[in-house]
């Protein structure tokens, strides 16, 4: 609990869940393909790569 009137005791550090490596646009595309859309929003594929997923540099 955080308050405006006392110090926090025994604060456990939370492990960082953010991926360390920054993905490129292509790597992000591969990640999305592998993940699929199950339980998530959606994925749109296109036969024309230029139109796909907002990837500028495929």
């Amino acid at each position: 609990m955080k308050t405006n009137f006392k110090e926090i005791k025994n604060q456990k550090i939370v492990s960082n869940e953010t991926p360390n490596k920054e993905l490129t646009a292509k790597e992000f595309e591969d990640y999305v393909i592998k993940s699929g859309a199950r339980g998530s929003f959606m994925i749109y594929r296109s036969k024309n790569e230029d139109e796909e997923m907002g990837i500028d540099d495929l």
């Binding site: 955080k2 646009a25 992000f28 990640y31 929003f41």
Partner: protein, 551 residues
């Protein structure tokens, strides 16, 4: 004065994604009044316990560590189940504190919530800033007389008292920024990454903001935490919007205002909020969780212009939500948003059947709007994010095929939600007995006149069924009750999976089987879908070869 806000755990299948704005805004109000305040954010703290619920012992220790004058608890409908578990803990550890509930989970049926959760003293209906502020002042003046405070439902022995409606805040610039120093920001930053775009995925210090309240659209499956005119009509009319409107008009007149379906603070307020987050926490991405940013062309254009002029567009990228009609009509807005740093926009497409969109969803969008929006997003090279749902009230096999056809035409992979009639939505009010009957079939027998019981027994059964329904409500990937006229929950689950696989062959073969068995019209598909149907293709071949058949 000492105030505690408790934030229940939510969406346990993933990490904490968004700040609990309500708690931090109300905490800022307490600080302005010179009070002491704490936020027990169980949704953030669960990460210290392997993602599971925070142990009861820890919660007990935290609550009993101080003498709180008031304890507030809030959230969406999906936290109802957890609040039911937490309420007895709160009452046990702080028996003399005023216990206040508020937020979407309790705003639509506060009288029923007070019966279902006997530990609560008060429910704040809808927007909380002004109502909470007056409660605070009342308690500070050593009074428990809350009946003159608008926007409350107050426990009164075995009954409850509704106070007059609270008018929606006319000027949202008066809402203080959240007390960020009281949030578990380190926990939220540890879960910064969101797989919606490269920028949000790579984010290391993502913050969330919410500025818009309500939405200009009138979608039948939606509600707005009691913060839009439509919500107030439903709340005070108990589902009868015309009756509710009469009360809202009285509230308009008394407060010299007109309460809108959607409200925004100024773009300056919004940009200054992001500047604050950048200066204080060096954030690199902002999730703007407003319900429908693109619906307000003027506001969004001004915001984007100011955001760019402030030098934020390259430093702090952002993502938000929008709707197809606004983008289809003004596609140039998307490039304006992208130029200002927008990395993704999420759209509720819902269905690609014009019949379902018009009759059931009522967002004011058509399939043409969906296609134009999708084309615009792809052209701007933004990530297209869209959600769909099945199990809409009058959706049949042809409507489902319209949606699947849209996915096939656009090479999309989509896992649809199942339409869930959350308490507060028009489809809930319009189908309440049907929903409750799915949890207690006796209610259906009463409706059909086959079972007669006294009113008290009927009310008790309905309340118990409501409790089961609200306990069941999750994030709509799982089933609760359905309002579909045609399909059962098991059928919808099968349809959802076949649609995810875009397996039109099995879906349509099943439709043929079901139609032959039942002759129910919802299973009879149009000739239009024969191109996707192996049964039809086989029939066609037999006809060509002039083979007698019995299909």
């Amino acid at each position: 004065m000492k105030i505690l806000f408790i934030v229940p755990e939510i969406r346990m299948d993933s990490g904490p994604a968004h700040f609990p704005f309500w708690a931090a805004i109300l905490a800022a109000i307490v600080e302005k009044k010179g009070g002491k305040v704490g936020i027990l954010d169980l949704n953030a703290l669960r990460t210290k316990y392997g993602g599971a619920k925070v142990p009861t012992k820890i919660i007990e220790e935290e609550i009993s560590s101080e003498d709180w004058d008031l304890i507030g608890i809030g959230g969406l409908t999906t936290v109802y189940n957890r609040i039911k578990e937490l309420a007895p803990i709160v009452k046990k550890m702080a028996p003399s504190s005023i216990f206040l509930g508020g937020g979407g989970w309790s705003s639509y049926n506060p009288d029923e919530i007070l019966k279902l959760i006997p530990e609560l003293d008060l429910i704040c209906i809808g927007e909380g800033e002004e109502t909470f502020s007056e409660i605070y002042d009342t308690i500070e003046n050593n009074s428990n007389d809350f009946e003159n405070i608008n926007g409350l439902c107050i426990r009164d022995k075995d009954s409850c008292i509704w106070t007059k409606p609270r008018a929606l805040i006319d000027d949202l610039n008066t809402v203080p920024y959240p007390a960020y120093h009281l949030l578990e920001t380190d926990v939220y930053f540890a879960f910064s990454s969101l797989p919606y775009s490269v920028e949000s995925f790579n984010s290391k210090r993502r913050a969330s903001v919410v500025w818009e309240r309500g939405c200009p659209r009138g979608c039948t499956f939606c509600s707005h935490n009691g913060m839009s005119r439509i919500d107030l009509q439903n709340i005070y009319g108990e589902g009868d919007r015309k009756a509710g409107e009469k009360l809202v008009r009285i509230s308009d007149k008394e407060n010299d205002t007109f309460q809108l379906p959607a409200r925004w603070p100024t773009p300056e307020y919004a940009v200054n909020n992001v500047k604050l987050l950048k200066e204080k926490f060096d954030v690199d991405f902002i999730s703007i969780v407003d319900e429908n940013m693109t619906s307000n062309l003027k506001w969004t254009t001004e915001f984007c212009d100011l955001y760019k002029k402030s030098g934020l567009s390259d430093k702090v990228k952002w993502g938000t939500l929008g709707d197809a009609p606004s983008v289809a009509v003004k596609p140039e807005l998307i490039q304006i948003m992208k130029d200002a740093g927008c990395a993704y926009i999420s759209f509720g497409f819902e269905s690609a059947s014009d019949k379902v969109l018009n009759e059931d969803i009522q967002k004011g969008q058509t399939r043409v709007h969906l296609q134009k929006t999708l084309d615009t997003i792809l052209k701007a090279k933004l990530t297209p994010l869209t959600t769909f749902m099945i199990g809409n009230q009058h959706e049949n096999i042809n409507d489902l095929m319209e949606t699947m056809d849209f996915w096939i035409q656009n090479n999309a992979e989509i896992d649809p939600f199942i339409c869930t009639p959350y308490v507060g939505s028009p489809i809930y009010y319009n189908n309440k007995n049907r929903i409750l009957s799915q949890y207690d079939p006796k209610i259906k027998l009463i409706e059909e006149g086959k079972l007669k019981v006294d009113k008290e027994t009927e009310s008790k059964w309905k309340l118990d069924a409501l409790d089961m329904f609200m306990t069941d409500c999750g994030d709509a990937y799982q089933y609760t009750a359905t309002i579909s006229e045609y399909f059962s929950i098991p059928e919808l689950f099968a349809i959802k999976n076949l649609m995810y696989q875009k397996d039109s062959i099995r879906l349509l073969a099943w439709a043929h089987e079901r139609y032959e068995e039942t002759h129910e019209p919802q299973w009879k598909h149009d000739v239009k879908w024969a191109k996707y149907c192996n049964v039809c293709k086989a029939e066609s071949l037999m006809n060509e070869l002039q083979i007698p058949h019995q299909i």
